[in-house]
Amino acid sequence: MKKKISPMTRKSFVTYGLLLIVFIAVEIMMNTGNISSMLKGLLVPVCVYSILAVSLNLTVGILGELSLGQAGFMCIGAYSSAIFSNLVKDTITQPLIRFPLAIIIGGICAALFGILIGIPVLRLRGDYLAIVTLAFGEIIKNVFAALYIGYDSTGLHFSLKSQGDLGLGADGKMIINGALGISGTPNDSTFEIAAAILFITLIIAYNFVNSRTGRAVMSIRDNRIAAESVGINITKYKLITFGLTAFLAGVAGVLYSHNFYSLQASKFDYNMSILVLVFVVLGGIGSIRGSVIAAVVLTMLPEYLRSINNYRMLFYAVILIVMMICTSNATIRNFFVHNFEKLKGLIFKNKSKTVKEAE
């Protein structure tokens, strides 16, 4: 018996397939040495930003609330996992054990903070929520930028003043050095692991949207009063979504921090949050595949525009504006959709019926 595949499942499998094809292509390029060092350096950040975009899309597209604190949750994931990895890098030398642990720790720390912040913050809606999440993101960043953590034989030392205030012993080592950030984090992030985590993120996101919980969350987005009137606990489902978003952002932070030898908290400023929001909006609010595509294209673009030096950011801005017009203008979008359907009809002649339906 043939089981009917829902359109949503088909959508998700197309995305998985696309990702797999890109992954294999990149692997072949890497193994045959046909890859530029610039592209190689971009592979992990591209995955990181894709995960961030997918996670933010759960809040913006599925829950329908604007959150600008992504970078803050990412920061928590990055720092907590980097502290862990620095502490255990001499005892657990095998990165295949150490790194998954770091990912779990980073994700859970971020999720805990997400829920903790979510409890007071999610009472707000719309612009107010956006402002408050932005503020929390900045607070997190600034706290980490002022934090000093070191360890010696007597244990961990914390301070918010200076390195000297820690009172480390002779064998002491710094983990977080205030605004200078973390250094010495093992470079455990590889493209393979990052791609695998992006894959898992997509599976989580698609299953979330299709689940009972996901439907409840979307019903809150569509109509809060009606959602309450069918017996949905609004606070609970908002918190679940917020926690999941923070978890995924935290995991992205882990990948990010283990990709660089040193890392400063100032990297996680609101620009990063806005950038991720740009990916989500351009990729299409609510479209998971769109988020990934936008994140990939817009992360690579500025690097490839380096050849035009001074005009780089100008071009980047113009491209952003053109993309925005193309995606928001119904006439232009329909033009593309129409031609795409036609093309599909030519390739799959037996399925040409879909063209008619689309029209």
């Binding site: 019903s219 009606a226 009137s229 069918v230």
Partner: protein, 236 residues
């Protein structure tokens, strides 16, 4: 003992007192109509019963159990379903998803499937449009969807807020026929309506609200002939 007992209910919006000590009761199997002008407190009353608003004082009892402070999502489980005013459906979800969400508090899969069929029988148009996005339905269909969704929680009392608002006369009659058939299936109905004539024609008893107070109550058949009601609400 009445199924639903409202006792001396006071509700405030900030400093404005919207309900000024309302008391009434709903017995099992009845259709009760709350009528009154705009701003009389009809919707406020319903929202307080279903937990969307909280009362400053007074009590609401369901089967003798105090539910005054129970949150909205728990009240659904206790057997009160709310059809909110203005066809609040889930615009971006399909008709079927909307109906399924009505059964959110239930876990019995077979029972839910059975009840979906029942809803389709009551509203055949919803079955025709089950894969359609709910926001694309017509006004009347959206109202039917909101009603069908409420029935999915297997309520003992359905609380309806202005089901006829903004509908054409033919659809209004259709909606009221459906309310009657819901009652025939043994569900109690608490109905808030501006269309007093229609509401009184199907209700057993009715309460007339005026600026947060109940000013008149009695059998619907008596009220429909009452001079003051005729003058104020029936336009005669």
């Amino acid at each position: 003992m009445a199924m639903l007992e409202i006792n001396d209910l006071n509700v405030y919006y900030g400093v404005i007192r919207a309900l000024k000590g309302i008391s009434f009761e709903v017995n099992e199997g009845e259709v009760i109509a709350l009528i009154g002008a705009n701003g009389a407190g009809k919707t406020t009353t319903l929202h307080t019963i279903t937990g969307l608003l909280s009362a400053k004082s007074g009590s609401i009892h369901l089967d003798g159990k105090d539910i005054t402070k129970t949150p909205a999502h728990k009240i659904v489980k206790m057997g009160i379903a709310h059809v909110p005013e203005g066809r609040r459906i889930f615009q971006n979800l399909t008709v079927l998803d909307n109906i399924k969400l009505g059964a959110f508090t239930r876990k019995d899969k077979d029972g839910i499937a059975e009840d979906i069929e029942k809803v389709y029988k009551l509203f055949p148009r919803l079955e025709e449009r089950k894969t359609q996005i709910a926001g694309t339905l017509s006004g009347g269909e959206q109202q039917m969807l909101a009603m069908g969704r409420a029935l999915m929680s297997k309520p003992r009392i359905v609380v309806m807020d202005e089901p006829s608002m903004g509908l054409s006369p033919i659809l209004v009659s259709e909606i009221f026929d459906i309310i009657e058939s819901i009652r025939e299936q043994g569900t109690t109905v608490l109905l808030v309506e501006q269309n007093a004539k229609k509401a009184l024609s199907i209700a057993d008893r009715a309460y007339v609200l005026e600026t947060g107070k109940i000013v008149l109550s009695g059998k619907a058949s008596d009220l429909i002939n009452d001079e003051s009601v005729k003058k104020a609400y029936l336009g005669e």
